[in-house]
Symmetry: C2
Subunit: 224 residues, 2 copies
DNA sequence: TAATAATGAAAGTAATACTATTATATTTGT
DNA sequence: ACAAATATAATAGTATTACTTTCATTATTA
């Protein structure tokens, strides 16, 4: 079963890298170790120099793959959302009822993350934490409009569209399908962050799951 | 009417500043011009050196007020949320019905921001944009737990508690009052950002207001 | 008016975020 | 098998950042 997807590759907009990191061992360890280091030390403290030391390579070689650490973050974000989209497609294919589709979407968005053997150089558990802690920084910039125009956020936007499509199927009269969809994506990340750092301003914890909250929200908003 | 609040001061945790900027002209221009510059150039490009040049003062003098630009951001965030809380208190006092209270809360959170003459050195319109674009960066850090422990986010948490209190009043059986409240605060900021930069993944625009979406959400979630 | 506190000016430090150059491997095409 | 092309490593260099330190000057207050 696993082998079916051995040739599966998450497609990422060419503009975010200078050289595709999937095409070499060095590229893969930039991505793989980059995730681990950003997870461990945070995006602000992370530098290409430190990454070079860790992977036994040179700073200047890393710059041949990514223009800056911001571009690496855009790459990781596209990779993550592409991977989430792939899991959502698998989980919802052949499911007819949109309410069951949305239930499964929410479980993918905020359920426990497990390592995916189809992508061996990426630690998805660490990447998930990186996205919770750093994803917002990829678009809260002064360059967001030009980068959006270039298409660097297209994977994320396509995912919002996919989920808003299910919302429209479930209730075609609902007035805010895109806003609800984008709120689910952002909100699931945010509630996971609060659960770990600000437990007094969330009801989510080990017992009450993040998707319990959003499941209730979605079905209250969409019921007719 | 305005004069009643001339002596009103937004109280901010002492730990975020080294010297209270409200106590001097220099301090006020650090805050006032700091807001304008972060708004104009973004938090990443903003430095104390550039701020010093703008206000005709020295970098080292600014460091006597704030340990770092991160601390200045924490200060601005506390100021902003304190100011929002003050507006919410004014707007909801003497209002009995919790649904009307929540309606007014949502209007404060995502309605148009106007300059507040009670706080002359702060441009609230610019500060509102700064919060939309930069607030997340104040807590998406490796230091968040120790800073939270110090109390640097207490204004924000108190605001979440105030709104979740209204939610509980409106429906005491609702299972996720804190999560809904924190989703409203984060979500209103996020939808305002999407409206300005990613219009295809939100339904909010000049016609459909951000609080129309959240008003619908809150009342669907809380109706019995 | 003397003491105290606040601000300014200047210099210094370690690190960041790169770029450029040159040397050395490694891969590939014939 | 060998030359050519490509990838990587090593080194150095630059402008800027994020501070700290020291000392001089200017306000404030007792």
């Amino acid at each position: 079963m696993e082998n079916i997807f051995n040739s599966f590759k998450i497609v990422i907009h060419e503009g975010v890298f200078k050289k595709d990191p999937e095409t070499s061992d060095l590229g893969k360890s930039i991505v793989g170790k980059g995730i681990d280091m950003i997870d461990a030390m945070g995006f602000e403290s992370f530098t290409f120099k430190k990454l070079g030391e860790q992977i036994g390579s040179n700073e200047s070689s890393i710059y041949r793959y990514f223009e800056s650490k911001h571009m690496l973050l855009l790459y990781l974000a596209s990779w993550y959302w592409g991977w989430v989209e792939y899991k959502i497609v698998l989980q919802t294919m052949n499911i007819k009822q949109p309410d069951e589709q949305l239930r499964r979407v929410l479980e993918v968005l905020s359920g426990e993350v497990l390592e995916d053997k189809n992508f061996s150089h990426v630690n998805e558990v660490a990447l998930h934490r990186v996205i919770i802690n750093e994803y917002s920084k990829s678009y809260l910039t002064k360059t967001v409009d030009s980068e959006n125009k270039e298409g660097y956020f297209s994977v994320y936007k396509r995912l919002v569209g996919r989920i808003s499509g299910m919302i429209k199927e479930m209730n075609p009269t609902y007035a805010f399908p895109e806003s609800l969809s984008s709120t689910l994506l952002e909100g699931t990340l945010h509630q996971q962050f609060l659960r770990d750092h600000f437990p007094t301003i969330t009801n989510c914890n080990k017992q009450v799951l993040v998707h319990d909250f959003f499941f209730d929200m979605v079905f209250n908003c969409l019921k007719r």
